[in-house]
C-alpha cells in the first residue's frame, strides 16, 4: 500500500475505521434490527467461517477445493446426528463433528498429494455431488430429501427474545476469533510452508518443506472450519436438508474467497459478507444478481485479482505481518557483493575440514533415463569434505539431472551416499534435513512471499541452539546479510531483478547451514564483476566448512575457484581431477570441441584457440 500520507495518519484512519466497524456490529443489537435481517447477518458470519477454511486450502495452500459445501454438510449432519441419535449435548456434538470432519479432510489431503490442479477440482466437485446423492437417498440415516428436523437449537435467553438475536453476538465473536487464529497461522512457520507449496511446490520440497504434511494440514484446517460452520448452522436453524449443500453452494463459497482476494485471509471475511448480504440488499434486482455475480468473478480474476483483500489487509495492518524489519539503507550504486565478501570472510573460521577431509557424498553407478534418452549412465564420483567441486560438461550431458538426483527431485538407479547414509530416491525434504541445499538453474523463489519469508522457510533447527520466530528471523537476516541483500528483506520476491533473486536464493540455500551446497549454474545471468565476487563468496563459505558442488559453464570461473573438477558427457563421467589437469585431458577436449581433425583441417583448431579465452587448449 502506498498511501501518500504519514504512518500516524494511516493508523489514526485505521483506528477510526475499526471504531465504525465495531459500532456497526453492535448496531443490530442496540437498535433492534428486524429479525429477518439479523438472521441474514448470522448466516453471513457462519458462511464467513466456512469460507475461512476454503481460504486456507485454496487461497493459502493453492489446493483447488470445489466441494466445501459437502464438508459443511458433513459437519452439519454429524452434529445433528450426534445430538439426536446419541442425545449428546451441543458442546460435545459440535467438537465431535469437527473431529470427524477433520478426519475426512485428512483423507482428502492424502488424495491431494496424488491428484493436482484440474483433477483435484473435478474430484472435489464429484465428491460434493456424491455427498448430495447419498444424503438424498439414505433416508434411514439422513432423513432423505426432507432432511433432519426438530434438532435441538442453542438458547441463551439473556441475550434476546429469539434465537437469531440470542446467537448474533456469540457468532460475531466466534467469527472474529476464528479469523484471528488463522491470520496468526498464516504468518507462522507452517503458514509460510503452505504458501511456499502454493507458489512453487518443487522448490518448497527441495528446501525442506514436507508437502504431504503441508497439504494434509491444509485440508484438515479446511474441513474443521467447514464442520464448525455446519454445526453452528444446525444450532441456529434446527434442521438440515441436502439442498443446503449443493455444488452451487460450494461455488458460492469459492466466490467469497475469490472476491476477498485469493490468499488474503481477512479479505475472505469481507467476501463472505458481501456475497451473503448483497443479494438481500439488492432484492429488487434479484433476477440479474447472479448473472452480474458470474460476470463479476470473471472481471475480478482478469483485472482486479486482489479483490477486497486490499481493503481488508489495510484494516489489519501490522497484525498480518508482525512488525516490519527496520529498513537497512540500500547500498549506493549497482548490486555489489563487496560488502558480502567482507561479511563472509570476517566470520570465516577455518575448520578442521581441509579439502582432503574425507568423503562427504559419493555417487555410485547412478543412472537415469528419460524415455529413450540416458541422461546419466553409471556415473560414479565422490565429493570430499570441504572442497569446491566443479561439474562441467556440454549441454545435455546430465549435469542438472545429477543435481536433481542428489536433491531428491528425480529418482535414479544406483546409490547416492551422504556420509554413512543413502539418500537416493528419498523425499527431497528428508534430504534437505540431512544437510543438502540447492539452488535452481532458473531461479525459483516463492514469488508472493517477502524475501525474508523466503529465507525463513528454509531454516532448520540445530540441536542445542535457540529456535522460535525470533531466532529464525535473526538467522534469515544473517543469511541475507551474507549475500549482501539484507536491504531487500521486506520486498516481495516477484519484484526483484534476476541478479537479486539469485542472491536471495543463495541466502535461502545457506540459511540451514547445509553440509553440502548444490549450485546449478549460479553465475548465469550475473554480470561479469558479480561473477568473480560470487566465486569469492563461495570460497569463503568453503573456508567456513561448507562443501560446494557447482555446475558451471564458465571455464574461467571453474578454474579459478574449484579445487577439483569432474566432467560429464552424454551421461558418462569422462574426467575427474584438478581443474588444470582435467582441461588437458584428451576426452574432455574432444567432448567440448569435437575430435581432432587431421592435418588437412589444420587451420580450424587454431581459430578456436584464438577465439576462446578459456584455458581449454587444443594442441594441434
Amino acid at each position: 500500500m502506498t498511501f501518500p500520507m504519514t504512518s500516524t495518519m494511516t493508523s489514526a484512519l485505521r483506528s477510526a475505521a475499526w471504531l465504525l466497524i465495531v459500532a456497526a456490529l453492535f448496531a443490530p443489537v442496540v437498535f433492534g434490527l428486524n429479525t429477518y435481517y439479523v438472521h441474514v447477518l448470522n448466516l453471513a458470519w457462519i458462511f464467513a467461517i466456512a469460507a475461512l477454511g476454503l481460504s486456507v486450502a485454496t487461497g493459502v495452500a493453492g489446493q483447488i477445493v470445489l466441494g466445501q459445501a459437502a464438508l459443511v454438510g458433513f459437519g452439519a449432519y454429524a452434529t445433528a446426528l450426534l445430538m439426536m441419535r446419541l442425545s449428546l449435548p451441543w458442546w460435545i456434538a459440535l467438537p465431535g463433528a469437527m473431529v470427524l470432519t477433520g478426519l475426512v479432510g485428512a483423507v482428502l489431503g492424502l488424495i491431494s498429494t496424488r491428484i493436482k490442479g484440474h483433477y483435484l477440482a473435478i474430484v472435489t466437485l464429484a465428491l460434493n455431488e456424491i455427498f448430495r446423492i447419498v444424503a438424498l437417498n439414505e433416508e434411514s440415516l439422513t432423513g432423505g430429501p426432507m432432511g433432519l428436523r426438530n434438532i435441538p437449537t442453542l438458547h441463551i435467553p439473556m441475550l434476546g427474545d429469539n434465537i437469531d438475536r440470542q446467537l448474533y453476538l456469540p457468532l460475531v465473536l466466534l467469527m472474529f476469533a476464528s479469523y484471528a487464529v488463522m491470520v496468526h497461522f498464516h504468518r507462522s512457520s507452517l503458514g509460510r510452508e503452505l504458501r511456499a507449496v502454493r507458489d512453487d511446490e518443487m522448490a518448497a520440497e527441495a528446501m525442506g518443506v514436507n508437502s504431504v504434511r503441508a497439504k494434509t494440514i491444509a485440508f484438515v484446517i479446511c474441513s474443521v472450519w467447514a464442520a464448525l460452520a455446519g454445526g453452528l448452522y444446525v444450532l441456529l436453524v434446527g434442521f438440515v436438508a441436502p439442498t443446503n449443500f449443493t455444488i452451487a453452494e460450494s461455488i458460492k463459497m469459492m466466490l467469497m474467497v475469490v472476491i476477498g482476494g485469493l490468499g488474503s485471509i481477512p479479505g475472505t471475511m469481507l467476501g463472505a459478507f458481501v456475497v451473503t448480504v448483497l443479494p438481500e440488499a439488492l432484492r429488487d434486482l434479484q433476477t440479474y444478481y447472479m448473472a452480474a455475480f458470474g460476470a463479476g468473478v470473471v472481471v475480478i480474476m482478469l483485472v482486479w485479482p486482489k479483490g477486497l483483500g486490499v481493503v481488508a489487509d489495510w484494516l489489519c495492518g501490522d497484525f498480518l505481518t508482525r512488525g516490519r524489519e527496520a529498513e537497512v539503507p540500500a547500498p549506493a550504486g549497482p548490486l555489489s557483493l563487496a560488502h558480502a565478501i567482507a561479511a563472509t570472510s570476517s566470520t570465516a573460521r577455518r575448520t578442521a575440514a581441509e579439502p582432503d577431509g574425507g568423503t562427504l557424498m559419493r555417487l555410485r553407478d547412478v543412472s537415469r533415463s528419460f524415455g529413450g534418452v540416458r541422461a546419466l549412465n553409471d556415473v560414479s564420483f565422490e565429493v570430499r569434505r570441504g572442497e569446491i567441486l566443479g561439474v562441467i560438461g556440454p549441454n545435455g550431458s546430465g549435469k542438472s539431472t545429477m543435481i536433481n538426483a542428489c536433491s531428491g527431485v528425480v529418482h535414479v538407479e544406483g546409490a547416492i551416499e551422504l556420509e554413512a547414509g543413502r539418500i537416493e530416491n528419498r523425499p527431497p525434504w528428508d534430504i534437505h534435513a540431512l544437510g543438502v541445499a540447492r539452488i535452481f538453474q532458473n531461479v525459483r523463489l516463492w514469488e508472493s512471499m517477502t524475501v525474508l519469508e523466503n529465507v525463513m522457510v528454509a531454516w532448520r533447527p540445530v540441536a542445542g541452539e535457540a529456535s522460535g520466530e525470533a531466532a529464525i528471523r535473526a538467522a534469515a537476516l544473517a543469511a541475507l546479510d551474507q549475500m549482501g541483500v539484507r536491504h531487500l528483506a521486506m520486498r516481495r520476491a516477484r519484484d526483484l531483478s534476476f541478479g537479486q533473486s539469485r542472491l536471495v536464493e543463495m541466502a535461502r540455500a545457506i540459511v540451514a547451514r547445509p553440509k553440502i551446497l548444490l549450485l546449478d549454474e549460479p553465475a548465469a545471468g550475473l554480470r561479469g564483476g558479480l561473477v568473480l565476487e560470487l566465486a569469492q563468496i563461495l570460497k569463503n563459505l568453503r573456508d567456513q566448512g561448507m562443501t560446494v558442488l557447482v555446475v558451471e559453464h564458465r571455464i574461467k570461473l571453474v578454474t579459478s575457484m574449484c579445487d577439483r573438477v569432474v566432467v560429464l558427457n552424454l551421461g558418462d563421467l569422462i574426467a575427474d581431477g584438478p581443474p588444470a589437469a582435467v582441461m588437458e585431458t584428451q576426452a574432455v577436449v574432444e567432448a567440448y570441441l569435437g575430435e581432432r581433425a587431421d592435418a588437412s583441417a589444420d587451420a580450424m583448431p587454431r581459430r578456436i584457440r584464438r577465439r576462446s579465452a578459456s584455458p581449454v587448449v587444443v594442441r594441434g
Binding site: H118, A121, A126, E129, I133, V134, M254, Y288, L302
Partner: protein
C-alpha cells in the same frame, strides 16, 4: 434387456463424447479446461429451442445451423476477450474464472428465456426402430449418426487439410507456429469456437430427451470432463472412447446396481481411474499431470 441398456447408454455416451472432444481440443491448443462447457450446452439448447424453433419457426436443420453459428461466434468472442487472457495465469485462476462465466451464462439463459422448463418435441417423431432386437428411438439414432459424422469429419480435417495442419502445429508449439506465419490467435479462437459448436450440438441433440432447463448442461458438462480424464487428458480418440465407455457404464450400473445412484456411478468410475490408471485409456503426450 442388457443389450437395450447398452444401446441407450451408447447414445448418451455419444453426447459425453461430443463434450469431451470439446475439452480435448481446447486443452491441446490453450492448456485450459473450460469449466463453463456445460453452460454453453445449456445456453445453446435454449437458443435452439426458444429462439430459432419456437419464436422464428425455422425448420430443424436451419435452426441447428444457425445455433451452431451463433455459438461459434460467441465462443470466438469469449476466447479472444477472456480465455486468451487466462493463459498466463495459474490453473486455479482459469478454473474459477470459467466457473464464473458458467454461472453468468446459466443466469443469462434464465433471464432471457424465463425459469420455466421448455418442452421440445423431436421433429423425427417418437417412433421406435427395431435394430436386431434392440429398440432405439429416432432421436437416439440421430444422436449416433450426428456424432459418427462429426468424429469422421474432425478426423479427416485434422489429418488431411491445411486448417488441420495449422491447428496441430499450433497445439504442438505455439511460438514456432507464430514464427512460421500462422495466425495463432485466430487459430485459438477458431478452436474454441469449434468446441462451442460441439457443445451446441450436444445441447440440441439432448433437448428432446429431457426438458430444457438451466441445469441441464451442468451435469453433462462435468461428465464430459470425467469422460476426457478416463479416455486420457487431452487425447482426441481418448475423448471419444471415454465418452462412450462412460455412457455405457453409467447405464449398465444404473440398471444392475441402483438407479438412484446413477450420477454417483460416473464419479466413482472417475475416482477408480484416478487411482488405477490416472493417465487414462489412451494417454496423451502433453497431458496435465495428475
Amino acid at each position: 434387456m442388457l443389450g437395450q441398456v447398452i444401446a441407450s447408454g451408447l447414445a448418451m455416451g455419444c453426447i459425453y463424447a461430443l463434450v469431451a472432444l470439446g475439452y480435448a481440443y481446447v486443452w491441446n491448443t490453450m492448456a485450459i479446461v473450460n469449466f463453463a462447457a456445460g453452460e454453453f450446452l445449456t445456453f445453446s439448447a435454449y437458443v435452439f429451442v426458444a429462439t430459432f424453433t419456437t419464436s422464428l419457426g425455422l425448420p430443424f436443420w436451419m435452426a441447428l445451423g444457425l445455433t451452431a453459428g451463433a455459438m461459434a461466434l460467441m465462443g470466438a468472442l469469449f476466447s479472444r476477450l477472456v480465455f486468451a487472457r487466462l493463459q498466463r495465469q495459474r490453473a486455479l485462476v482459469a478454473i474459477i474464472a470459467t466457473v464464473g462465466f458458467g454461472i453468468f451464462l446459466k443466469e443469462m439463459a434464465r433471464i432471457i428465456y424465463g425459469p420455466e422448463p421448455l418442452l421440445y418435441v423431436s421433429p423425427f417423431g417418437d417412433d421406435m426402430l427395431d435394430v436386431g432386437g434392440i429398440r432405439l428411438s429416432m432421436q437416439q439414432i440421430l444422436i449416433m449418426v450426428v456424432v459418427v459424422v462429426i468424429m469422421a469429419a474432425q478426423y479427416l480435417v485434422l489429418r488431411y487439410t491445411m486448417i488441420g495442419k495449422v491447428m496441430r502445429a499450433t497445439a504442438l508449439d505455439r511460438e514456432t507456429a507464430a514464427l512460421m506465419g500462422i495466425p495463432v490467435n485466430a487459430v485459438l479462437a477458431g478452436t474454441f469456437a469449434f468446441s462451442c459448436v460441439l457443445a451446441a450440438l450436444a445441447g440440441i441433440l439432448l433437448a428432446p430427451l429431457f426438458y430444457v432447463t438451466t441445469e441441464m448442461g451442468t451435469m453433462v458438462g462435468l461428465k464430459g470432463f470425467v469422460a476426457m480424464i478416463i479416455g486420457g487428458f487431452g487425447s482426441v480418440p481418448g475423448a471419444i472412447v471415454g465418452g462412450l465407455l462412460l455412457g455405457v457404464a453409467e447405464n449398465v450400473g444404473a440398471f444392475t446396481i441402483s438407479s438412484t445412484y446413477k450420477d454417483a456411478i460416473a464419479f466413482t468410475l472417475l475416482l477408480a481411474f484416478l487411482v488405477v490408471r490416472p493417465e487414462g485409456l489412451i494417454p496423451e503426450r502433453n497431458a496435465d499431470r495428475a
